[in-house]
Amino acid sequence: MSGRAEVWLFIAQRASAFVLAPLVIVHLATMIYAIQGGLSAEEILARTQGSGVWGAIYGLFVLAAAIHAPIGVRSIVREMTPWRGRSLDLAAVLFGVLIVVLGVKAVGALV
């Protein structure tokens, strides 16, 4: 992989991390708040359905995670297993796509 591409991956991972940070805080906060006194499907859906804000938040979350996680996993695999090269890069991309697909479905259902 060229030097430039490697730097772009680094930028993408750090930028997505930067985006994820506030989203995770929001997510953690609502989770801690939401489970007070147990929770049901209705309650969750009542909060999220029809809300553009929640849709945007979780949409962005999924997107950022889909960029962030595969890059991280790729470097873990490269360092800790003998797997490297094109096939690994492709697998990482597929992993990202998987997150997007699952994420879009989940967010779609919630909103």
Binding site: M1, S2, G3, R4, E6, V7, W8, L9, F10, I11, S75, R78, E79, M80
Partner: protein
Amino acid sequence: MTTETVSEQEFEVEIWRGRDSGEFVTYRVPQRESQTILDVVSHVQRRLDPTLSYRFACRVGMCGSCAMTVNGVPRWTCRTHVDLVAKDGHIRIEPLRNLPVIRDLAVDMVPFFDKWERATGQFVPSDAGNRQTFARVPPESRERQEADAGIECIGCAVCYSACDVVAWNADYLGPAALNRVWTLVNDTRDGGKPEHLAAVAGDAGCHQCHSHQACMTYCPKDINPTAAIAGLKRATVRSVLRGEL
């Protein structure tokens, strides 16, 4: 004169003998007031087993030839007092990690130097023929301070040996080489910035560092390669965003 009748105190050290395969051999070494790990190793070679191989030169922490692994941790042995490491009365000495072993405690440092070279760890003159003047560089300037922070590296490879990323990624340039390049990037006299940044950007370069900070933890010269590498990460990002890399 003190009348000493008790025989001198001794302690045990385990020393690696062999190459990639080999074994630890235990020796009993007399305890002395001023005694470095290098002295222990020398005692074994000079008095107990003349076939022991190791390396040193300056004896005072200037040449970076004498680094070994002592109780699991890489150290400059000529400046490591026995008391510092023998807290539980036990010492185990091995060659440096992450470099091929030549014999016993001596490693082949060529990969380390080669990476220094590959990282473009050498000055690129911008004023080559000048035999009259010196560039003006105020000592308080930020660049000079950054350069000074890392420039006294003695190339001992302690950091290189301590870094797990070096162990995981055989191509990784390693903390010392990257630290040197950072001093050059901050050297206002250096004319090779684009080459330096290009050389440290690849998949062997600064972005492979996970900030373990083992390098700065163990560097005997209190150099901070982690900060230098972070500086290179920023510099390369900036130059990619500007479309220069």
